[in-house]
Symmetry: C2
Subunit: 349 residues, 2 copies
């Protein structure tokens, strides 16, 4: 048995060097992993050679690639053969069963939307970010998943419920958290908060037996990790995720800019630095393999743009696991089953 | 000349004691301030006496009051004579020209909506929170204003533009920041990001000469204070504001719960504590007088629920300033002027 994973060799700040290195790492660690490289063949072969990898690999050559800061829409129009576009087409054709890219998030989502089918039962895709929380007890990983963080800006109740299904399945089967807690991001804990769409979503989620719905959580709960999966629309999720990024950056810089004359503050930062380093180890994005884009016929993993070889290798292993667990088909089944049992197809919500 | 300010004597965690103390502080500091106390007359008189305040004061007696954790809607129905309801009615009648309450935010906004008119030109009210940022240069206060944070959950372009007008006027005339920078909270910097409503809002804001619009900011920019006013809808603003609260709480607790065995981490926290104390002084809500609720015929200031006397006193001084500056009328004028100049009344957006 082998697991075919397409890798966008040209996507990411450190492409293609770290992407190829990471792919080699993954293939060496796990011989069932078979990589389909998409990108500039010469560049890919050169990196393989430099890393002393001698086995035969599959490469689909394309000279076009999308930079991190290009407008996804324009870039995909201007470069129809961009590596990420080719990779999603190959995925749809069946040449691979999952895809890893560290390239532009927008281009990855858009290429997937253009070239992949949605899985049956799902209307819109969700980009699920995994973020570190203050929860470091032994039973959990200390990570939570928040979705959507930018694929679907404004969502119906139906779409939010689908996100709950997708997030819950992914966290339990891929991240290995049993019976993960699903929460809805809202402006208050009461069922009736947040307007009609969220109130409806709340009521439906309460009825879904396969989802461990714990109710609404508020903005203040996000960093605490009170839920394993936080469901929200793409606009709000994007703002929340980037705020966490901003606060993180700020903490790192605080020592440099603020309170320059205050010795104890500076000392605090110095001492904290080693703690932060430990925290970083716990929360390093390279550990958990990137953000899954859920809802398509096959799993696409968006690795961090700054991914190093280790991060890419982990993303590839997560992609393998998603094939093993048949994540996309199972998510589809669970939603179609729920619809059938409840004799609804969510058409009205 | 005297400035008549209604004070909800029964609202807040420390009511009525700290509310009365703070009112006395304000009246002693500034003899042009005339307070209209709304609440339990006996309790108010007792506090006045205990604080040795002998001058005549106006009190409108009511026995009903709304607790912090009551449902605003139900509480206002069950207690039609609640102090906050009475206070907003007195404001509308003209017995006072601004109102300060440290009570339930929801009840304050709802009572205002029930008993006050909107100012001409404005459709919906905005709750504007003032939050500390990483910007501590000499030219600015280090605070930014974000609105709306919960009064109007989902907004049209017109309503967002109104928030920009209101926030900009408030920050320049009450907080004293010249030509304050207004930004729109979005998922990317480009004009076309975030969907139709935000794209339209962006285009209009660019045309408004009296607003110093600097474009879109993202979630990561919020803690940096890159803008003096961040405009967003009430749902997103509420999530963002509460996230900041959550991160703040988390930082305070981190030393206790995480990395218990790591000495340097603990030391770091100890040293940081004194820095944080300084930060707290800079960012203490008692300094800037609470969150204005903008859009009504008269200004309502929602002081923090945990307000002490000093915070109440500052909120009252801000309320006085709003009367002096005639904030509500000026906001209305600037919007009506803009509509006239551009021969639009925003009816279509």
């Amino acid at each position: 048995m082998s697991y075919k994973i397409a890798v966008d060799a040209m996507g990411g700040d450190n492409a293609p060097a770290e992407i190829i290195k990471g792919s080699i790492l993954a293939m060496k660690d796990d011989e069932t992993i078979e990589i389909l490289f998409v990108g500039d063949e010469d560049a890919i072969r050169k990196e393989l050679e430099e890393n002393g990898y001698k086995k035969e690999v599959k490469i689909v050559h394309t000279e076009q690639a999308i930079d991190m800061d290009e407008s996804p829409k324009k870039a995909l129009l201007a470069k129809p053969k961009a590596s990420i576009a080719e990779a999603t087409r190959l995925l749809h054709k069946g040449d691979a069963d999952a895809l890893v890219s560290a390239g532009s998030t927008g281009a990855t989502i858009l290429a997937a939307a253009q070239n992949l089918d949605m899985v049956k039962g799902i209307e819109r895709s969700g980009l699920a970010a995994i973020y570190p929380t203050a929860r470091f007890d032994k039973s959990t990983s200390g990570f939570s998943l928040i979705l959507d963080v930018g694929a679907t800006l404004h969502c119906s109740s139906k779409q939010l419920i689908h996100f709950a299904f997708m997030g819950s399945y992914y966290v339990s089967h891929i991240l290995g958290i049993e019976n993960p807690r699903v929460a809805l991001l809202n402006i208050g804990e009461e069922e009736t908060k947040g307007g009609e769409i969220l109130t409806k979503t709340y009521r439906y989620l309460q009825e879904i037996e396969s989802i461990n719905f714990i109710g609404n959580v508020e903005g203040k709960d996000i960093p605490y990790g009170v839920a394993d999966i936080i469901v929200t629309d793409g606009f709000v999720g994007n703002i929340a995720l980037k705020m966490m990024e901003g606060v993180g950056n700020l903490l790192k810089q605080t020592g440099k800019y603020a309170f320059k004359k205050k010795l104890s503050w500076k000392l605090g930062i110095v001492f904290l630095a080693s703690g932060l380093k430990r925290l970083k180890q716990k929360t390093d994005y390279s550990e958990y393999g990137g953000a899954p884009i859920l809802g398509f016929e096959k799993l696409v993993i968006k690795a961090h743009g700054r991914s190093n070889a280790k991060a890419i290798s982990n993303a590839i292993k997560v992609a393998k696991r998603s094939i093993e667990e048949d994540v996309c088909a199972h998510i589809s089944d669970s939603i179609l089953n729920f619809n059938k049992q409840h004799k609804i197809d969510f058409l009205d919500i």
